[in-house]
């Protein structure tokens, strides 16, 4: 075997052009997922009637099925729903005008939401009950206590999980190729298809992901240092 190092470099450079797509998918799905996840977590923690069982089944279903099936279901199912609704309402909007990457955004956000709800929930549970009582004792309202006392502590408690979620979504973005989005994985196929040097192309792809993952982990470590300042001391 002769490993074509020059081509690994060429492939690496070409693959870099697909990095923004991967990052966009990651950022969108993580942010929307966080929003969905926080809502779901609060619904479940406060056991809000009617919504509570729905939220629970959503989380159970999503976590019990592969991310790929979510994408396929959204990609093929959403147009039927969208077109049905807009037809019924007499709107001119049709699903064909949704860009391919839109399906990836929607589907991955739904996936991320279920996992994020667990991250948020465990973060909230990690905050000592006494904290909210202390907040009440100085006259804060529930939402004040939530915003000023509970959430900041929950956030720093769930930073490691959060970082894993981000890495999970980054790696998950490679699925977007199934709906014809040119992400890093699809780009590797394209780059290699001219000269059949798939191994080299995928080596370059692996290196890019490895690097991105490493960066996320470093950033998390920095953030942990920054946010856990108050947590210092104790036995160690």
């Amino acid at each position: 075997m002769k490993l074509d190092f020059a081509f690994i470099w060429t492939a690496f450079l070409q693959l870099l052009t697909a990095v923004p797509t991967a990052l966009a998918i990651t950022v969108v799905s993580v942010s929307c997922g966080l929003l969905i996840g926080t809502t779901v977590a609060i619904i479940r923690l406060y056991k809000i009637p009617v919504l509570h069982p729905i939220a629970a089944s959503y989380v159970t279903f999503i976590r019990g099925t592969p991310m790929l099936t979510h994408l396929l279901l959204i990609y093929f199912g959403l147009p039927i729903i969208v077109d049905g609704i807009s037809e019924a309402l007499g709107l001119s909007f049709r699903s064909v005008s949704i860009p391919m990457i839109g399906f990836a955004y929607i589907s991955f956000s739904i996936t991320a939401g279920a996992y994020m709800s667990e991250v948020v929930r465990s973060g909230l549970l990690a905050v000592n009950r006494g904290q909210i009582e202390a907040a009440y004792s100085i006259g804060m309202t529930t939402s004040q206590a939530m915003r000023r006392i509970i959430l900041p502590q929950a956030f720093s408690a769930s930073l490691p999980n959060l970082s894993n979620s981000v890495i999970g979504m980054l790696h998950g973005s490679t699925l977007a190729f199934t709906v014809s989005v040119v992400d890093i994985n699809a780009k590797a196929q394209i780059v290699a298809s001219t000269n059949w040097k798939f191994f080299e192309a995928y080596l370059a792809a692996a290196l890019i992901f490895w690097g991105l993952t490493f960066i996320i982990e470093r950033l998390t470590a920095l953030a942990e240092k920054r946010f856990n300042l108050y947590n210092r001391g104790g036995v160690s």
């Binding site: 592969p66 099936t69 093929f76 667990e118 790696h171 998950g172 699925l175 692996a206």
Partner: protein, 262 residues
């Protein structure tokens, strides 16, 4: 883009997909078994702090957890034959499924290693000391005292890994493996009933992972029979395990986290 939605197809495709479940399970079971072995080998240098091997373990873990499984699948599928050619081994005719199993095994191996390390670390140091104090040697202390306790601690994490592995096998279709997802794609394209097919597919995955979860829950209860009243002690250990081994709490399509169920 397809035929109009008709719920009756869901059941029909369910029946058509079920036979391919055995390929999915074949991949899951063999890669988990091999992965456990790999995990042990990778974890040992870390548990016993063996100087140079420890570095190798770290790089191994970092690579397999730092790159997507899909990329790994392609990398091994295209790369392994090339590398094996160097030692005059021609694997061009070896079916793709072996590459798939190997990749999943190496991938799970990294997570298994983390699991083993965490679980062993969660066993109280006093247990080993007590084993030594009654005259056991290191091997006896590990196999008779530490391992059984570590196994009970590791069950929830192990359950996660198996279920995550099951979900990950849905990517094997990209190398042309006719497991459930691969089969469903063929069915969908042929019949144009995309949504119905994929609903059937999702149902099967869901039932299996749900069943597995319940099964592991029973197993955990059985292994933890010595904790008839779950003491804060073990709860603490579990929390510690969850906290320090964050990768296992992970997430995404590749690693699900369900530590905080209940």
């Amino acid at each position: 883009m397809g035929e109009p939605f008709d719920i009756s197809y869901v059941f029909e495709y369910l029946v058509k997909l079920l036979p391919t479940l055995k390929i999915t399970l074949l991949i899951v079971v063999s890669s988990i078994v091999i992965g456990l072995g790999v995990g042990f080998i990778v974890a040992l240098p870390q548990l016993y702090k063996i100087p140079i091997l420890r570095r190798f373990s770290q790089v191994y873990l970092s690579f397999f957890r730092g790159t997507p499984i899909l990329i790994q699948l392609f990398l091994f599928y295209y790369g392994l034959p090339e590398i094996l050619k160097l030692v005059n081994l021609d694997v061009a005719k070896v079916p793709a499924i072996y590459f798939v199993i190997l990749t999943y095994a190496l991938h799970s191996g990294a997570y298994m290693a983390e699991m083993i390390r965490a679980a062993v670390g969660a066993v109280d140091r006093g247990q080993v000391e007590a084993a030594y104090s009654v005259g056991m040697n290191g091997f006896q202390a590990f196999t008779r005292i530490v391992l059984p306790q570590a196994m009970a601690i590791a069950i929830p994490v192990f359950a996660n890994l198996v279920i995550a592995n099951l979900k990950d096998t849905s990517l094997a279709f990209s190398l042309g493996i006719m497991e459930m997802t691969g089969k469903s794609q063929t069915l969908a394209v042929m019949s144009r009933h995309f949504v119905e097919t994929y609903i059937s597919l999702a149902i099967i995955y869901f039932v299996i992972s749900f069943g597995l979860e319940k099964l592991f829950h029973l197993l955990e209860r059985k292994l933890l029979k010595h904790e008839r009243r779950i003491t804060t002690d073990v709860k603490e250990q579990l929390v510690k395990l969850g906290k320090t081994k964050r990768s296992l709490l992970g997430f995404g399509y590749s690693r699900g986290g369900r530590e905080n169920e209940a």
